[in-house]
Symmetry: C3
Subunit: 343 residues, 3 copies
């Protein structure tokens, strides 16, 4: 059990201003619904009233928000960031035994870094290197010659194909596959003959890969995911894609092969691209956007084929008016016929 | 090999009425195409004629159906339910050796229920509890402190993160991941800083989770799947979602975070929602519906953005008429111009 | 390290014509960007100029292409096929130790073919047969009674349910699940009661299954994937589907249950079908096509509901003109009103 912290200690940590009893003791942090009288929670509009009435001991709120003085609070610039910080404070480090479990299978030429944890039934193949402090869960397979960086976290049942290079502090969630073959064939008559896929995947530092996501290897050369990019569950990234830094790829996104994506790009859920296109920096693609050609920097696109978001909104609104539109067209036809007859 | 059953024995089991030889011996049950002279099959319109001509020994048909008296049959109220019942009758229980296989890895503080089967190379972590009669296949990882209910069936290569709670008679298919981190970050400049995901997943009794489906844990608190809900392959359920009872989520569905879904709701394949919305009871969403706002009880929606199904059908039909529509518009323009000139 | 080959040796292999020094020594093959002075690459328009300026020792080009004589080249009929052939030439066979690793778990009645490789922590269940020369990676589970053909390649963390039949030279990528239960229930009131799924999956020779793809078993009978069909990552194939030969199913495709698909059919990414339909031979479905009824041979379809591709293109183009269309309609209304007043 972690010790309690006073409201004033917590406020110091998140650069906030306390309203109410500075000495209120906090023992945990959770969402509004689950918060009890020893917990702190956070709220922004329109949830402030709900937080006022909650059982929470205190609430993290935005500076300047209208909030009952009866409920202790800490006002901060960014409540969500402050909440994340307090979550870290109250989250006990997971209990992970360091070292190589005797039921792990480590090839003779593999190297395991200091303070790493290799759990039972993980398999580390020949010439693979596991960085200092990395944690490898059960049933993970790290292929021949892979390099896993420092302090990585590789959850159960992850597969990393031979030769992949993973940066530092990378998190790979269960079931993800790094370095599977690209979907490349040459057609000889009706036969789809496999093109050998001999490249690898390179993940930058601080990348996170969601559950059951798939990042294919380059046909030759590398598929690259830039530093700080976060990839959600069940996403597909094709062979030879180059994804920039600090991108977000949300669940079920599919990026076809040989696509270049800039930095700070967001793909909302189920959006997808054709292959061999170039997408600029700072773009945002709406849910289920279908991107079929190059996209310049700073674009906000939606729809399929993807187009500027405001055009898409307008078009969607007009589509809903099609019944009215057809009615008005019919009326006009009647009127014009009438006018013609009167001549 | 199971013993044969007479047609009259089977009819008793499914509350049906036999036509033809009551004593016909049946040894198996399968679909029309594969049924041989010792098998029973089932048929509803428009497949009744095909069943009449099949090699099957007998056919389960709807009461009142027109069906050849030359082919033995059992007429029932619900042929599909009757077929399922007969399938159970003829399906031998899988041969599963009970007990803990010596090549499984069971942590010292884990508890394994009576009559459970823990197959080779399953890993049960510290303080986890496996219910009586549960079956855990090879390469399954059950994280620290998880509780798996009675008579669960956890197929190969499933991963369950620490702290998840699984009800009784739950089936989890291969590759599914229960309790992976929610996709939650706070932006500090361009960096997406991870929000700790410290909640869990709670699956109600009789839930079924398809192959490679992903159910994320709550950021804090729980992601909840209600009793009797069935989730198909490759579905994504986000952090803190609350899904009601007896829902159906079909392949490739994606539910964003913090969504509340009522009971008896069906999401057809590839449908998806934005986060933080509330969906009522008894709703049906068509294939690839894109749900972007709250939905009242008993709604039948389709399209993206999702709208009442009949509106969507009408709109789709009108879209197909756009070429005709443009043509009529052009004609009107010509006629009006003509009328104007005549003045 | 593989030995070098002269340009003329390589040209002989790919039936090409050399320009430049026949004796140029080549030690590797890769894409234009990564190619160094000992590598050969390939280029087609519009990448020929980039290849001329690259560091590559030589370039495989299409016959008749305009290309600098300063850069050694081999002109061929099909540069992509030639590149694949040269890739095979320079790709060293993976170093795979044959035999059964002592840390694999092989049931007493399982049979392992000559020259097969069963890696550590693979589990082969009772009565399963592994063909000659097959390679089974760590953490693979092969269920009871499965048959795996000759020279198959089953990557890490694959699950194959009991009774599935896999042809020769089949490749199954990490995380794929073969034979999971179909999504079949009968509704008894609000309860979705499971229909036993007792069939299997049959994969023809030379099939390839992508990472985390899911092929469900037949409810009764088999789900069939024809010879030479290639399935990409995260694809879902439902129970009792029959997919023909040499089809391509690209990432995130979803085929509902009981669908019959002909041969040489391509489903582009995220396309999907309803259940119980029949799709002819030689069809092509565009990205995200939604197929809701039978489709004749040789169809090229797109959109949802799927329609002939050229109709879809026209309709898409007209949708973008809706704002103009509404404007023209309003103008007409004004003019007609004006004409009416003049009477």
């Amino acid at each position: 059990m972690l010790a309690g912290k006073t409201l004033s200690e917590i406020a110091g940590l998140i650069e906030g201003t306390v309203t109410g009893n500075q000495g209120t003791l906090i023992f945990g942090v959770t969402n509004i619904e689950d918060a009890g009288p020893q917990d702190i929670t956070f709220a922004v509009a329109p949830h402030l009233q709900k937080a006022e009435k909650s059982a929470a001991a205190a609430v993290i709120i935005p500076r300047g928000a209208s909030f009952s003085r009866a409920k202790p609070a800490i006002a901060v610039d960014n409540p969500r960031a402050a909440f994340a910080r307090v979550l870290e404070l109250f989250t006990p480090a997971p209990l992970i035994e360091r070292g190589v479990h005797p039921a792990a299978v480590i090839a003779g030429s593999a190297q395991i870094g200091a303070n790493a944890a290799i759990m039972p039934l993980a398999v580390i193949d020949e010439e693979a290197e596991i960085g200092d402090g990395a944690v490898v869960y059960p049933h993970v397979y790290i292929g021949r010659g892979c390099r896993i960086g420092k302090d990585c976290l590789i959850y159960a049942n992850v597969s990393v194909y031979a030769g992949c290079q993973i940066g530092d502090r990378v998190i790979i969630h269960s079931g993800a596959v790094i370095g599977g073959d690209g979907f490349g064939y040459v057609d000889i008559g009706r036969e789809h003959r496999k093109v050998p896929q001999v490249g690898n995947v390179v993940l930058g530092d601080d990348v996170e890969i969601g559950c059951n996501a798939c990042i294919d290897c380059g046909t030759t050369g590398s598929t690259l995911i830039g530093k700080g990019t976060k990839i959600d569950n069940l996403v597909h990234v094709g062979h030879n894609d180059v994804i920039g830094e600090n991108c977000l790829l949300i669940a079920h996104v599919g990026i076809s092969g040989s696509v270049r994506v800039g930095s700070n790009v967001t793909f909302a859920g189920q959006s997808a691209t054709v292959g061999h296109i170039k997408i600029g920096d700072n773009c945002v693609f709406g849910g289920r956007a279908g991107i079929i050609s190059d996209v310049p920097d700073n674009s906000v696109y939606a729809g399929f084929p993807a187009q500027p978001h405001k055009d898409w909104l307008r078009q969607e609104a007009l589509q809903r008016k099609l019944p009215e539109f057809f009615r008005r067209l019919r009326e006009l036809e009647t009127q014009v016929k009438e006018l013609g007859r009167k001549k």
